[in-house]
């Protein structure tokens, strides 16, 4: 059943309009970042920017009062370590849950599924209580460690490893390799697609995280880029071009990761929805 030529033309027209609408917010970020305050707040809406150049960008990156550069550094450290850590920890746990069928393995799977049902955003008060009593407020540990244990990622890996042929592992076992080296030498190299999928989802999620860093980064020097931007929005005397230049800088890494790894992201999203 192929769509007819006229309906197809209508569909493309609708799709084009929608695509413009969906991309509009990104354009507006760029327009505001490369305009002057007066141009943005003029009574008439201007579609084109009036100050294309790097002055605002330089100012935002170098002005310690705005603090975007330091926040970018914090975000980069937090997201990178959290992504790597989450993938490694979840991959190992997922493998354990997929390959063992002891009672312990079933208990661990049950705990994982239970955690899956109660999202960590809902339990942010108890998490905060824990982290503050460990003395981890305004530290990298406080920002990173509680986010390393993703039941969601572990469950995705478990599902993936259930479909991984055990024959290869059996062959390695016959050759005398233990479970540990079999896992790292045979299972992991053959599961890089899943690693990319979980890694991409995790990176975008941690880069964009807001509530947890808002609670933990009480010292302004430890703010992530999302928290810094949020505070720019409510601080007085901040100008639109600077604010949106900050937004442009904050959104760029996630867009790059999205662009490069979109295929894996789609795969990860598909599997996560249909777990």
């Amino acid at each position: 059943m192929k769509p007819g030529r006229r309906t197809l033309a209508l569909r493309y027209a609708a799709l084009t309009l929608l695509a413009v609408a969906f991309l509009l917010p990104f354009y507006v970020i760029a327009r505001n970042a490369f305009s002057t305050q007066a141009w943005i707040t003029a009574p008439a809406w201007h579609w084109l920017p009036d100050a294309v150049g790097v002055q605002t960008l330089t100012k935002v990156l170098t002005d310690p009062g705005i603090g975007v550069l330091a926040a970018l550094g914090t975000s980069a450290v937090v997201s990178t370590i959290q992504t790597l850590g989450t993938v490694v920890i979840a991959m190992m746990a997922g493998y354990g849950m997929a390959r063992w069928s002891t009672r312990a393995a079933r208990v661990v799977t049950g705990l994982t599924v239970f955690t899956l049902m109660v999202p960590t955003t809902v339990t942010f008060v108890p998490m905060f209580v824990m982290v503050s009593s460990l003395g981890w407020i305004s530290t990298f540990r406080g920002l990173i460690v509680p986010g390393l244990f993703s039941a969601f990622a572990a469950y995705l890996f478990r599902t993936a490893f259930l479909g991984f042929p055990a024959d290869l592992e059996d062959a390695a076992a016959i050759d005398g390799a233990n479970q540990w080296s079999t896992f790292w030498r045979i299972v992991v190299p053959n599961s890089l697609g899943m690693v990319a999928a979980v890694g991409t989802i995790t990176f975008i999620g941690t880069w964009n995280a807001f509530l947890w860093p808002l609670l933990i980064a009480q010292d302004p020097a430890m703010r992530t880029v999302q928290v810094a931007l949020s505070q720019l929005m409510t601080s007085q005397g901040i100008r639109y071009p600077e604010m949106f230049t900050g937004a442009l800088i904050a959104v760029a890494p996630a867009l790059v990761v999205f662009g490069v790894l979109q295929r894996w992201l789609v795969q990860g999203v598909t599997q996560s929805g249909l777990k």
Binding site: M1, W45, M92, A104, G110, A166, I204, N208, A250
Partner: protein
């Protein structure tokens, strides 16, 4: 729904297999879709190899398990404890108050309002996102060219943070001043500008709903695309030979076959709406604090636990317990409904 391929080494006769049916009822195992493959069974009980293998299990699982215990289970237990104490500005309270914190919450009109806010929000955002995601997936389905481009355009907002989206919506699209984009359009139509986030007439709902719709719809569209692709095209060909096409083919074939995806999407949307925080906080919070309206449950709990002048972790913990209970009920209903969907 199950995308993983069949396991080639399904219990074969060549090696001894530990029976999967344990004598005790399997209470730890959640309801899973019926018909899911059993886990490959390969431990050999009683041999030294099995014991070595058992040790390896802990090597793989310990880091994750320790993290879950320390950062999920102990905190929840601690929170249950705190919820029965007067815990203002402290995590080690001494004054036991029993269920007073829960009673306080139940009698607090602001807490009930927050549940009402969630229900209103969910009633709008869930069907709207569902319909738009399905609509986009159908528009893209089997178009001959540029499919990847359009899919990327709709999916791209998923990479944007709620903070950045809030900035665009609050400062540019729905700015209450005359230079806001929507107010510019209104002025062009001869209407007065609207103070979108000021609280009158519930205009802020338009801001919050369009923002979340834009950011999320691509994610669910991807799920629907996967669901549509899983439908055998021959079914549609057979139907069109029988004279069913267009709307009828959709209502009679496509939509019923999409049911597992539809149920999953509806559940995920509801659970995510329950966790809404970022866009509320970032579009509505001002130098003067958070306005009294538009406080969904998470914002309410945040403000009572960490807000200016409040910092009551006892009531915040009680709130967490109530929210956890609510979301657990969602989760259980979800696994039930999904299991029924797979059983069909």
């Amino acid at each position: 729904m199950q995308t993983a391929g069949e396991h080639p080494s399904h219990p074969d006769a060549a090696r001894p297999v530990q029976p999967d049916a344990s004598p005790t009822p399997d209470a730890t195992r959640p309801a899973q879709p019926v018909g899911r493959r059993r886990r490959p069974v390969s431990t050999r009980p009683g041999t030294s190899l099995a014991r070595t293998r058992g040790r390896w299990f802990w090597v793989f699982v310990s880091p994750f398990l320790a993290g879950l215990v320390v950062f999920v289970y102990i905190p929840i237990a601690w929170s249950l404890y705190l919820s029965m104490f007067d815990a203002r500005n402290t995590v080690t309270p001494t004054k036991f108050v029993g269920i007073d914190n829960y009673v306080y919450l139940m009698n607090d009109p602001l807490f009930r309002d927050s549940m009402g806010t969630f229900i209103v929000f969910a009633l709008v955002i869930v069907p709207l996102t569902f319909a738009c995601a399905l609509g986009l997936a159908l528009l893209l389905h089997r178009i001959p060219r540029f499919q990847a481009f359009f899919r990327s355009a709709f999916f791209l907002p998923t990479a944007c943070s709620y903070v950045v989206a809030s900035m665009v919506w609050r400062m540019s699209f729905f700015n209450g001043a005359r230079f806001g984009l929507v107010n510019t359009v209104l002025r062009g139509a001869g209407l007065d500008p609207v103070n979108w986030l000021g609280g009158e007439n519930g205009w802020y709902w338009l801001v919050l709903v369009t923002l979340r719709l834009w950011l999320q719809v691509g994610f669910y569209m991807v799920l629907f695309i996967a669901g549509l692709n899983a439908i055998d095209p021959q079914l549609h060909e057979a139907a069109s030979l029988d004279g069913a096409s267009g709307r009828r083919a959709f209502t009679q074939i496509t939509f019923p076959l999409l049911r597992p995806t539809s149920v999953a999407v509806a559940m995920l949307l509801t659970i995510n709406a329950f966790q809404a925080f970022d866009e509320f906080y970032n579009t509505l919070n001002t130098v003067r604090g958070y306005p009294p309206y538009a406080r969904p449950p998470l914002v309410y709990v945040y403000l009572i636990s960490f807000g200016e002048g409040s910092q009551d972790l006892g009531i915040g913990s009680a709130g967490t317990m109530i929210l956890t209970a609510v979301i657990l009920v969602f989760g259980l209903v979800q696994s039930r409904v999904l299991a029924i969907g797979a059983d069909r």
